[in-house]
Amino acid sequence: MFQELRASLSIVILFTLITGLAYPWAMTGLGQSLFRHQANGSLVTQGDTIIGSELIGQNFTTDRYFHGRPSAAGDGYDAANSSGSNEAPTAPDFIKAVAARAAALRANGSKNPIPADLLTASGSGLDPDISVAAAQYEAPRVAAARGLPAPQVMQIIAQNTRPRTLGFIGEPRVNVLALNRAIDMLETKAP
């Protein structure tokens, strides 16, 4: 029994050192030297301030910006508390929430079909992307709020659309933060 315990304990402790400390440290060292930007969370800076991460969605509420998807993370886009809504498809709360989002999106009287990603909360609550259709759906609002011609906004959307990886993996999408920054750039450049 002593020998049994000695074997168990020493292997657990040795592998805590190898797989629990040495391995993550080695990965941290390699990651920080080879892929520094990604290893530190793909942060985006503007001047000296960190304005977010390329990979993490943030809450946009004003008409001047494109909005991301509904979020169930904390009070919305809480990147220290990721979560989906976990609402069942038959839950009355879910059906009410979809109707309320639809009503808000159609407040301007539009009758266009609404892309599903604008009506439903993402899995992480931090989805950085919206579908291309969703960006196009929001384009008139943003164009009006900024006094930009609609075709120009559509062009910015096209420039910021990320295609399927290798042409067939995943879905085409638009990163909301990148899109909003591109729109901001447009205004600062304009005379």
Binding site: G31, G84, S85, P89, T90, F94, L119, D129, E171
Partner: protein, 563 residues
């Protein structure tokens, strides 16, 4: 389904096979202790471990000694994790100053990771420090996967050895598997993940100020190192609460694709290597064929169910349900991931299953309820399907009136009794556990959805715990004292209630004489056997749980589309 979906699936199969074939050869070499590429490094560490661990690591063990070592080793690892979680507040690398985990939840987490379940009663970034994630969860991700592979090795030896009841040495197997197989694979995969955007740092959570001036706290951590072994070891416990849906765990379509391949890599490779290890290469084919057919059927069912348009969305745009899904993955990748993870005992999710369409839930439930034998978890998938194989051989033997044999070993009543015990563990835990949870107020309080969906939430939780999967209908409130404790007990029974009888079968077979095949032997590598095996799996799985599935997902589906 679009042509892109089909292309993605074909590429997924092609890449998985292309990687599993060389991996199978490597597994077989490690199993046979043949020289491998980095022997000079691994064997030095291995020898150092032997010196420290002592003579217990060099003995040949019969099945009772092997099982006893597995139990002691797992209890030791689980206890260390439990202590780390309780003491988290005093331990280093805790930039968010998270307090120690409460005892019921710490017990649940320790058992979940030690049994390779990785059930998430915890919230990741809101519960666990970097030290707990690294020295606690990551370590058990390795060791629980290594335990599964070690037991599978012992079972294969049981079939291959003749009149020699020794099954090898548990400690030697665990050390070898971790050093030679898991560590190098995880090392490469973690680097790939960092390149794609998975963070790997020890910084405090970042404070950002967004374009609209709103503050955002962004969780960080050593994510990639944990993510890599989480996928390769069929573990699945998330670094973050949202698991594989979180953009930091799974940032791009390419990581989604690679993580799915990583989930299946070792289970597929082990089934491919099984025939070679057991001395008859043809024996892998019925297992592979049967698993592939079941995988395709379940996937087709899940995709069809999820593509059905939710009535509330039909009038607004007519698109498929995106609740709980990420834009970069879309509907097809979410379902493919769900089927791949539940087929293989991996508890990771890239979409929230609770929000999927009602019938879609049947796909992961079926995968888990049949015991996760469609490739299955690392190691446990193989010994799981071998139980079905023995039952099939026995039934076939009864039909043709011969003594059942598998790999030259006679299957007698002792083996059958043990196989049935291992088989019955799941229905007893899943149905019994669900019923008790539903009847007791303390258990029923965890349900967060009305009607049949609440039943599905409960059955799903107990199926996931019993089969050591770890995925969840996450609306189910698992962080209560009742569920933390009872689900942990179910995980223990689901793990060791199978490992012990399986090792007993292996021990009994190892001691038997080999019978040379005669004209009366029922061949176990042909089409006939494959069909029988598939039928046995479906009948055991389907019929046992049909009432629960009818009252849960099917009833919910009918109520959703009734008006």
């Amino acid at each position: 389904m679009t042509s892109f979906d089909i292309l993605q699936f074909l590429a997924f199969v092609a890449v998985t096979v292309a990687m599993a074939v060389p991996c199978a050869g490597y597994l077989a070499r490690v199993f046979a202790k043949a020289p491998v590429f980095a022997d000079f490094l691994f064997s030095r560490i291995e020898n150092a471990v032997i010196v420290i661990a002592g003579p217990q690591m060099e003995r040949q063990q019969n099945w009772t000694a092997y099982a006893f070592s597995a139990l002691i080793f797992n209890v030791t690892g689980g206890a260390l994790l439990f202590i780390i979680l309780l003491a988290q507040g005093w331990l280093p690398w805790n930039p968010q100053h998270l307090a120690g985990v409460n005892p019921a939840q710490a017990f649940n987490i320790a058992v979940a990771f030690m049994t390779n379940t990785d059930w998430q009663s915890y919230g990741g970034e809101t519960t666990l420090s970097y030290f707990s994630q690294m020295a606690g969860l990551t370590v058990q991700n390795y060791l629980s996967a290594a335990t599964g592979l070690a037991v599978a090795f012992a079972v294969i030896r049981g079939f291959a050895r003749k009149e020699n009841p020794a099954l090898g040495n548990f400690y030697a197997d665990v050390v070898r598997v971790t050093l030679y197989i898991l560590l190098p694979l995880a090392f490469i995969f973690a680097l790939f993940l960092i390149w794609q955007g998975v963070p790997q740092n020890m910084h405090a959570y970042v404070q950002a100020v967004g374009l609209e001036g709103v503050k955002q706290t962004i969780a960080q951590g050593p994510v990639a190192s944990q993510e890599a072994i989480k996928m390769l070891g069929s573990n699945g416990g998330g670094f973050f609460n949202a698991n594989g849906a979180h953009p930091y765990e799974n940032p791009t379509p390419l990581t989604g694709f690679a993580e799915m391949v990583a989930i299946l890599l070792l289970p597929v490779a082990l089934v491919l290597a099984f025939g070679r290890m057991a001395g008859d290469r043809r024996q892998s084919w019925p297992l592979i064929t049967s698993m592939t057919v079941l995988f395709l059927v379940v996937l087709a069912f899940g995709v069809a169910a999820e593509m059905e348009i939710h009535p509330a969305l039909a009038a607004l745009g007519g698109h498929a349900n995106m609740e709980g899904k990420e834009t970069r993955f879309g509907v097809f990748n979410s379902v493919l991931w769900t089927v791949a993870t539940t087929a293989t005992s991996n508890g990771a999710v890239n979409s929230m299953l609770d929000s999927a369409m009602p019938l879609t839930g049947i796909a992961p439930l079926f995968n888990m309820l049949i015991g996760e034998v469609i490739f299955g978890g690392v190691g446990c998938g193989l010994y799981g399907i071998l139980i079905y194989v023995l039952i099939t051989v026995f039934i076939a033997g009864l039909m043709v009136g011969r003594t059942p044999e598998y790999l030259g070993k006679k299957i007698e009543s002792y083996e059958m009794k043990l196989a049935i015990i291992a088989m019955m563990i799941y229905p007893v835990c899943v149905l019994g556990g669900s019923v008790i949870s539903l009847l007791l107020p303390a258990g029923a309080a965890s349900i967060t959805a009305p009607g049949p969906h609440g039943l599905t939430q409960t059955v799903y939780a107990y199926a996931s715990a019993a089969a050591n999967n770890g995925t969840a209908f996450a609306g189910f409130n698992a962080d209560t004292v009742y569920q933390n404790v009872v689900l942990a007990l179910v995980m223990l029974v689901g793990r060791f209630g199978v490992i012990v009888p399986v090792l007993a079968i292996a021990g009994s077979l190892a001691g038997k004489k080999a019978t040379p095949p005669s004209t009366g032997t029922f061949p176990t590598h042909g089409l006939m056997f494959t069909v029988l095996l598939t039928g046995v799996i479906v009948m055991f799985g389907g019929l046992t749980y049909f009432p629960a599935l009818a009252l849960g997902p099917v009833a919910e589906h009918l109520s959703l589309f009734a008006h």
